[in-house]
């Protein structure tokens, strides 16, 4: 039996897990695991043909359970997601090695468990991505859910609570998916993709509706789609630093992968489009699109109110997921490309941002936005990484986030969807507001006395951050590189492929060439610099030599604006934060509590007379009728 490349990859990943399990307590275990991730990435790169329109690589592992054939294979879609998974795993694990590990262990963290959880996550994600039929998809799904739980629960305390919340949601989602699978099986008699593809054509509208709701809801839980998003931010934020970089980068995108596989590839956007909601003008696709834009807006504006840098970023992670779904649901060449490209872009900047924040926590011990400030003079490289990351997150040129968002906007414009377009832009504006708060409160403004002696993050943490920053910029300059992969993914899932060039996209109705845009932008910066620096030499002054209406400033009085940052905005919209989703969650919980109490009551109160009477009545009624 010859091993295919996919076998090699999965075996490699399994070996990484074993190394983390057995010699993970040893010296330099972190470095070893990191190198193994690098090896996995290399194996994946050997499959690079997949990303450029190559065929399918199957695993030689397959078996039959109860008449169901389970198989695993890689195509362009899997390859694209696996690339992001392994890339973020490699860099997060690298980030964790060395200084971070030591301080984590010193604070009582279990570094062995951390590496083990990471390796398990990666393996289970690869298994999920390789799934060749719906049953293996479900198995992979559950593996990913539980592996994620392990990583989230590591830190204990608040983190465990958040992880418990997550697993509750994930289990409910799993149930929905299982229900969907049963329904699919009942109508097609098989869980093979080909069989399902045929069965979908003859399905009744009601059934298709039910399937869209079950699968969409189930996968949507992982993606943090409204209204199932509440678990995500605390769970990701409370994970140990590099873990949250990894989870934030890729974990919830597994939901998008499954949506692409099941809803887009199997059911087809056309079929979803034909599902009308009675008595309204909208159909299932519009419904998904609106869920996507609300997923953009609400979490983004929730992020703006956060006072903890990690929570702020985690909330944005939910919001950015909305752009991906929105692009995919619009489903023309540009929209699909935008949505898929955003998966890649989001992974790069989200990982960079979480790492930068973790570096700040490593040096100062806090992520509280009201307890930091002015760190740019002490941690300039971290500042740069965070700056590049937030420009990407906000989707401004010259970083990569701009390209994917541009594609999404462009598709909404082409399709004539003004309200969705507007909502997507509101999300972006909200993002700009909240990321400025992030960078201002950490790195700008007044440096606190206790941070006078803070130093830049150690190189073991700095190197992966800088690599990510470079990737963010380079894929912004040459978006054609990831767009090539994206185009083959589009072909695989049955969306029209985009017409890309190295610098962007070509289109009759307005193209984008980032090489020119960035070239001109930097030329503009150059001219600006010439104008600026041609004037006299600057004299640097201390931060306390500052305008305060004639007041003498001293270091013991904070001269910084950080709390309630957008006070004017909050005067207007503050009252709109009602916590409706929290209320919804609470009411569901209390409903379930109540039902279980009723059941318990019935079960406990073994009232024989009552049962006898009701049975007799029932029998009599049956006889009479």
């Amino acid at each position: 039996m010859t091993l295919t490349l996919l076998d090699e990859l999965l075996l490699f990943s399994g070996a990484t897990l074993l190394v983390a399990l057995f010699i993970g307590r040893g010296l330099a275990a972190g470095w070893m695991v990191t190198i193994l991730y690098g090896g996995q990435l290399l194996t994946l790169l050997k499959m690079a043909a997949l990303g450029y329109g190559g065929g399918i690589i199957a695993s030689s592992l397959s078996f039959t359970v109860m008449g169901q054939n389970l198989s695993w294979r890689f195509d362009a879609l899997s390859w694209f997601f696996a690339l992001i998974t392994l890339g973020s795993a490699l860099l997060s694990s690298w980030f964790a090695c060395g200084a971070w590990e030591r301080s984590y262990a010193k604070q009582g963290g279990n570094i062995w468990l951390f590496h083990l959880a990471m390796a398990l996550n990666v393996l289970s994600m690869l298994i999920l991505l390789a799934s060749g039929d719906l049953l293996s998809l479900f198995i992979g799904w559950e593996l990913v859910s539980w592996a994620g739980f392990l990583l989230m629960a590591l830190a204990g305390g608040v983190a465990t609570q958040a992880a418990m919340r997550y697993i509750t949601y994930a289990m409910a989602g799993g149930m929905a998916i299982f229900g969907g699978l049963a329904l699919v099986y009942s109508s097609s008699g098989s869980l093979q993709l080909d069989a399902v593809l045929i069965a979908v054509e003859s399905m009744s509208t009601t059934k298709l509706w039910l399937l869209v709701i079950l699968f969409g809801g189930g996968f949507g839980v992982k993606m943090g789609l409204l209204p199932f998003h509440l678990w995500q931010a605390p769970a990701y934020a409370e994970t140990p630093g590099p873990g949250s970089a990894f989870l934030g980068a890729i974990s919830s995108r597994m939901g998008l992968f499954a949506i692409l596989l099941v809803l887009v590839k199997l059911f087809g956007i056309v079929n979803i489009d034909s599902l009308k909601i009675p008595f309204t003008l909208i159909d299932a696709r519009d419904l998904l699109a609106w869920i996507a834009v609300f997923t953009i807006i609400f979490p983004t504006f929730t992020a703006m109110k956060q006072n903890d840098a990690r929570h702020l970023l985690a909330w944005h992670g939910i919001g950015q997921g909305g752009y991906m779904l929105l692009g995919v649901v619009v489903a023309d060449a540009m929209g699909g490309a935008g949505g898929l490209l955003h998966v890649f872009n989001h992974a790069t900047y989200q990982a960079a941002l979480f790492m930068a924040v973790t570096a700040v926590i490593h040096r100062t011990g806090t992520a509280d936005l009201n307890k930091l400030g002015g760190l740019v003079v002490r941690m300039p490289l971290s500042f740069m990484v965070l700056l590049i990351g937030i420009i990407g997150l906000a989707g401004l040129p010259p970083m990569n986030g701009f390209v994917s968002k541009w594609l999404v906007y462009r598709s909404l414009l082409n399709e004539g969807m003004p309200l969705l377009f507007l909502a997507a832009v509101i999300g972006t504006l909200g993002t700009i507001l909240s990321v400025y708060k992030l960078i201002h409160n950490i790195f700008l403004g007044q440096l606190r006395v206790e941070h006078e002696q803070v130093k830049e993050a150690p190189w073991s943490m700095m190197a992966p951050m800088l690599i990510l920053a470079a990737i963010i910029f380079i894929t912004g300059l040459f978006p054609g590189i990831p767009l090539a992969w994206v185009a083959s993914v589009q072909e695989v899932v049955g969306l029209p492929a985009t017409d890309y060039t190295l610098g962007g996209v070509e289109s009759v109705s307005g193209s984008l060439d980032m090489i020119w845009v960035i070239g001109v932008l930097f030329a503009g910066f150059g001219i600006g610099a010439v104008i600026f620096y041609s004037a006299g030499r600057s004299k640097r002054v201390h931060q306390l030599d500052n305008y305060a209406g004639g007041h003498f400033l001293s270091a013991d009085v904070r001269y910084q604006y950080s709390d309630n940052f957008y006070a004017g905005l909050m005067h207007l919209v503050g009252g709109w934060y009602r916590g409706s989703f929290l209320w919804l969650e609470k009411s569901v919980i209390s409903l379930i509590d109540f039902l279980s109490l009723v059941m318990q009551g019935l079960y406990r109160r073994a009232n024989a007379e009552f049962y006898l009477l009701s049975t007799a009545l029932f029998v009599m009624a049956w006889v009479v009728i």
Binding site: V376, L444, S509, L521, F532, G536
Partner: protein, 298 residues
């Protein structure tokens, strides 16, 4: 296009923008003066101010980011000008389109925000917080307007949008075809100028000119340069979207100055709104007009 010719265009476009922008600054100050029954500044006053600020002996800087922020504020607009077609010169307008232009116009604000941030002055930070809030306010109607225009034209390419308007003379102008969007755009444009009654983030009596509080010498000079570009960009963008661009330079400049004269004549009659009132105003009237306008376009 010959590379040399393109290079010439890319150099000339920001230069023209700067010169015209200075005249626009002068016009705004003159209009303000006339409304207040004053004489107003002399012809070259904007130039005097910029030269003076750049030649100050003391150039107080709060650090590298303070400097870079100003460079970004100027550079972002210099880059944006090359995406904005003028008569006879298209620059790289076809390679970016209007959405890119809109986003490039946010780069200067971001640069300024970073620069102000390092000044460690809460007045400045409050100013930036308000400026970003104002951006959230006026960008929503602006985006609706741009959506409507781009959808009606079927392209995001500004060159095509202008060509389509010029094809049928006055009757095919955006302002004639889509009057509601034109009005909404005018209000949004006024707010994006940051003049009264929308100057919440300058607010001299309240937060000591906000972002500019710690700016001296060449830093302030850079902001003056940026203001020239800002006025030019906003008015030319409006002219390109609604008034058919310019077929000749005379035509083009006349329209740009006239467009800018409208908010300038209104601005100095009013005091300042509070932040939430600005948001309320912007999210109500121009958005409503814009959405109705878009509904007509669709």
């Amino acid at each position: 296009m010959a590379p040399l010719e393109l290079l010439l265009e890319l150099t000339l476009m920001p230069l023209v923008a700067f010169l015209v922008g200075m005249m626009m600054v002068l016009m705004m100050r003159r209009i303000a003066a006339r409304i207040q029954r004053r004489v107003g500044p002399p012809l070259f006053q904007p130039l005097y101010d910029i030269v003076k600020l750049h030649s100050k002996q003391t150039q107080v800087s709060h650090g590298l980011i303070h400097d870079i922020g100003i460079v970004m504020a100027m550079g972002g607009y210099i880059a944006a000008e090359t995406l904005l077609p003028v008569p006879g010169m298209n620059g790289i307008a076809e390679k970016g389109g209007i959405i890119t232009l809109l986003y490039l116009m946010m780069i200067p604000s971001l640069g300024l925000a970073l620069g102000v941030g390092q000044c460690a002055n809460p007045n400045g930070s409050i100013g930036i917080a308000r400026a970003l809030t104002a951006m959230l306010a006026y960008d929503i109607p602006l985006v609706i307007v741009i959506f409507g225009v781009a959808y009606a034209a079927g392209t995001t390419n500004l060159v095509d949008i202008i060509a389509q308007q010029q094809a049928g003379g006055f009757a095919t102008w955006g302002a004639v075809q889509m009057p509601l969007l034109a009005v909404a755009g005018l209000i949004a444009m006024h707010a994006s100028l940051g003049k009264q009654p929308f100057e919440i983030y300058i607010a001299p009596a309240e937060i000591a000119t906000g972002p500019m509080v710690e700016m001296s010498g060449k830093h302030l000079g850079g902001l003056f340069v940026m203001q020239c570009f800002q006025l030019y960009t906003i008015s030319v963008l409006y002219v390109s979207l609604f008034l058919g661009g310019g077929s000749t330079w005379f035509d083009f400049l006349l329209k740009s100055f006239l467009v800018l004269a409208i908010p300038a004549s209104i601005a100095y009659l009013f005091p300042r709104y509070r932040t939430e009132d600005l948001l309320r105003l912007m999210w109500k009237w121009p958005v409503m007009l814009g959405l109705i306008g878009v509904a007509f376009v669709l």
